[in-house]
Amino acid sequence: MRNRYSAGNLIGAAIGGHKDWAPAWLDVDPKPRYDVIVIGGGGHGLATAYYLAKNHGMTNVAVVEAGWIGGGNTGRNTTVVRSNYLYPESARLYDFSVQRYESLSKDLNFNVMFSQRGVITLAHSRHDLDAQERWTNAMLCNGIDAEMLNARQVQECEPRLDISSRARYPILGGFIQRRAGSARHDAVAWGYARGASALGVDIVQQCSVLDFIKKHGRVVGVKTSRGEIRADRVAMAVAGHSSVLANLAGFSLPVTSYALQAMVSEPVKPVLKAVTLSPALGAYWSQSDKGEVVIGGALDHFPSYAQRGSFAINQQAIAATVEAFPSLGRLRLLRQWAGIVDVVKDSSPIIGATPIPGLYINCGWGTGGFKAIPVGGWILAHVLATGQNHELAEAFQLARFHTGRLIDEAAASGIAH
């Protein structure tokens, strides 16, 4: 059976009619006991399992997923990867993630199609320009690449934007992070799943967590739809459903769940070069490798667990699209959906121990979890394996909501909410 993906192996397999490829990863039944159970088979959960095995040699690990892997927010997001944050703690965290993305295809031997095509944030007013000067300066101070653009330079980066004086939403300029871009979401999930599975991690699908098993106040396992599974440590990486699981475990979180909406057009030839965000218009755009124009909207304005998104936001995103890109006005929409995101008041994540011994959490990424998959998995694995917080995670503990040491990351939300 062929396990490794390479040009040589591809040619060799082609001669035999591609009959001897090993499955990318194994879907298995759960064992009664593991060292670590990770709840949630999205990018963060799978990356956690992969780094537990790869960085810490812990392979007696299960990832339990209620649906199918990558079928939650990992399969519902708009795949933007960037590190254009304001504060030093966030800059370090997210840029570590961008750096992991830069080498991820090689590390995983799986093409995650990371394309550093640049992320442009548009300025529609003098105030936007002033704010972006501050934003880019903060990024440069943190050692992250950033560049202010005038309107003409914006159009060079994204020719189909309407920068004319007659535009409904005038574009005065913007800024770009050139190392930012997009990656293929299912490839990230499958790449981590394949890497983890090859190192001995069990991936269990169609396995919902119904309750936690506790002994003397400590979590020692989970009751699932496929029976009881015990473990020394349990971690949860379930994004918008974090509060639901925390409630089962007996603690609360500073999280509110909202629907974040996206949609794609019918596939067309390459028309968009970069990823463009307009905080003022509440929309952002890119083009997938399949040719679909990907349109993302703002959050619904009210708490929601409905994976569809409201029509008010849908209308806003489409109106912004036809004004900013007049030539896309006649494209037909192919699909529209929403993912349930875990929004925290300071728009920064929570990664580490919970108030319940034996239970660890990775949540609070809000609208921007995809970009953080490598770092989220890396530092959750670190605390699970060593019992100590990774240095990048020290500032992002649950305790900050009682000490007041918030990291109020306004730049976390690429678009305003």
């Binding site: 509060s243 009210f302 708490p303 409201s310 029509f311 007041g404």
Partner: protein, 92 residues
């Protein structure tokens, strides 16, 4: 588009309203511990199901009022004024 019933103006589209989040959270005394104050400011039940929340008819009469809404189906089971308490039948 989702419609909400303002107790003063009747049914209006959702984008005339702002959602103010969970309603009827009691403020603790000012000399409470950091733990209690942090819980009050930031920690929320965030239920998947019935949620009692306050809304404001911002682009209408400007009044605040309460709604019990299902966060999955968005079905509204009660609308009551800001000083009224949640209907007994809908207690969690």
């Amino acid at each position: 588009m989702m419609q909400l019933q303002c107790p003063f103006c009747g049914y209006r589209p959702e984008n005339e309203f702002d959602c103010g989040g969970t309603t009827a959270i009691a403020r603790p005394p000012i000399d409470c511990s950091d733990e209690v104050w942090g819980d009050y400011l930031f920690f929320r039940v965030n239920p998947k199901g019935l949620h009692a929340e306050r809304w404001r008819h911002t682009f209408g009469c400007g009044q605040w009022f309460n709604v019990v809404r299902d966060t999955v189906t968005h079905e509204v089971s009660a609308v009551y004024r800001i000083t009224e308490s949640r209907p007994r039948a809908l207690d969690p």
